[in-house]
């Protein structure tokens, strides 16, 4: 759900002073995060004074993951970003901020059934900084081997693998295919989830339900779209059939704020039309639905992934879309070459009589295919080097997934990536 209004609108620069706003928002974000952390700390403390007992597995562990990446593209007419949280992307020069990330996780096993986890990451984010943020902070309680309950700040599972998008080492390619994952607006919620696992003969069926509130931001030119207070609810069913993992999932979000387009509307429309246009493009209190099915095959040297999604958007400022990808890798010694293909199609909405509204709505359009070729080299224990080419072939109107498109943008771009992923 990302739009940049720097292109179009009769060449007028519509970026209006918003620098102070982003500063304040990021401060608010951290205050809110700090409050949530206090809550979690209190919960943990509560648990510690509880019946910890003399169980042998009361243990603290610290793990981390990270990626050092360099990314460049074949064009200066648009910038390539990894996801919507990045306000600037890679262009014709090697760029380290698109894929580089560092994450740390501390976990405490309080009793065999109870665990507290805090995970923080530092990556290039909506406010153009690498400020660390708390990505997860939760308490997990597994009363039986079938049931798992979590409360706190949790990863969002819009689609299969969506909650590990930042862990490069866990992925075969450099990054999750953008055509499939770009539309996901945030990666964590403050809420609860419950998972139930049941054996079916030798197979395993697993279902999960979750609910939570987002507090993220999405950058738009020099502004941010606040997702604070947006409620998300969803669930999925997994079926583990030997080496196959199959999933069907559904989620929806009710957005809590409008996109920050008021300034643009005021600058380009007569005063009496601004209110009407704002209502027409309202995102506040609209609902978006995310459907997906996926299959992963993981056996011997083979890794295969096939996923399809459909997103229907309640607000006219977004476009509903369908996307999918195929990915296959085959390990030869320490090297796993892989190839993939992904696509996204969004449905343009009917034109209005108002060209300003039409330009804003056109900013949500995506229509492109991407071919992926690369290799992962497990060069040392827990360290992988990857080199990848993405050939993006789209329509010139496919501008949603990019930043800072210029008038010469053709919809075609080659992306070259080199990364070193590690875990510890």
């Amino acid at each position: 759900m990302m739009m940049r209004y720097s292109a179009g609108l009769s060449g007028q620069d519509v970026i209006i002073s918003g620098a102070n706003m982003s500063q304040n928002q990021s401060t608010d974000f951290f205050l809110a995060a700090a409050k949530k952390l206090h809550l979690v700390a209190a919960l943990v403390a509560l648990v510690f004074v509880g019946p910890v007992g003399a169980e042998e597995e009361s243990a603290f562990s610290l793990h981390g993951f990270g990626t050092l990446g360099a990314t460049r593209t074949s064009t200066a007419d648009a910038e390539f970003v990894r996801d919507l949280s990045q306000p600037q992307g890679a262009s014709k020069h090697w760029d380290g901020k698109v894929d580089s990330i560092l994450g740390l996780q501390a976990s405490w096993r309080l009793t065999p059934d109870l665990e507290a986890v805090v995970q923080a990451i530092s990556h290039y984010r909506y406010d153009r900084s690498f400020k660390p943020e708390v990505s997860w902070a939760y308490v997990k309680y597994d009363p039986t081997p079938q049931v798992s309950l979590r409360a706190g700040r949790l990863g969002t599972e819009f689609f299969m693998m969506a909650d590990s998008r930042q862990v490069g080492y866990s992925y075969l390619p450099v990054r999750p295919p953008g055509d499939f994952f770009w539309y996901l607006p945030f990666s964590s919620i403050n809420g609860v989830d419950a998972a139930l696992t049941v054996p079916v003969g030798e197979d395993v069926l697993r279902g999960k339900l979750y609910y939570g509130i987002s507090e993220g931001n999405i950058p738009l030119a020099d502004k941010q779209w606040s997702l604070d207070g947006s409620a998300m609810i969803g669930g999925y069913l997994d079926y583990q059939l030997g080496s196959w993992l199959l999933r069907a999932s559904y989620a929806n979000i009710r957005f809590n704020h409008n996109m920050p387009v008021d300034d643009i509307l005021r600058a380009n429309l007569p005063a009496n039309m601004v209110g009407q246009a704002r209502d027409y493009l309202a995102a506040d209190n609209t609902r978006s639905h995310y459907y997906s099915v996926g299959a992963i095959y993981d056996n011997g040297p083979w890794q295969l992934q096939i996923m399809l999604n459909k997103i229907t958007q309640g607000s006219r400022i977004f476009q509903s879309s369908s996307a999918g990808y195929l990915l296959a890798g085959y390990r030869v010694g320490p090297v796993t070459p892989y190839a993939g293909f992904s696509w996204i199609r969004s449905e343009s909405r009917a034109a209005t009589l108002n060209p300003v509204i039409d330009v804003i709505m056109a900013d949500a359009h995506a229509h492109q295919n991407t071919t992926i070729l690369g290799a992962r080299w497990d060069v040392a224990r827990n360290v992988a080097l990857k080199a990848q080419w993405d050939g993006i072939r789209g329509e010139p109107q496919s501008i949603f997934p990019f930043r800072n498109e210029q008038p010469g943008w053709t919809g075609k771009m080659d992306v070259f990536s080199l990364t070193m992923d590690f875990v510890f």
Binding site: F65, G155, M161, Y169, T197, E202, N299
Partner: protein, 145 residues
Amino acid sequence: MKPSRLHSLVLLVWLALLPAGEALADLVVVVNARNGVAVMTRNEVANIFFGRYRQFFNGVEAQPVDLADSHPDRARFYAALVGKDLSDVNAYWSRQVFSGRMQAPPRVGSTEEVLKWVSSHPGGIGFVDLAKADARVRVVYELVP
């Protein structure tokens, strides 16, 4: 150097370079002797060691123990069980851990520690060389290399 000497030298070097694996016995999966489980299938073992489902068919909660990467049996175990390289196994666990789903099984450094773990946990399950499995544990699955 005479040709015959050269031959024996080549033979010696070749013998030294032979993979030690030829001499290794089969790996077996063992559980606590009082567990009550007598035999398991490959999928059941994989489900437990990959954290997909950690319960024995008789209702006992499974408490798997793994070996450190430096122990050669770890690579042999996952190669025989699912045909996977350790890098793939570690990548799998990094997804589970950092997505917040679950932690990996604890790892110990030696077969003796595996046997200790399995015999001291009612739901203990681990893998050892067949020759090392003793009365404290019960063999429930034999891995075919």
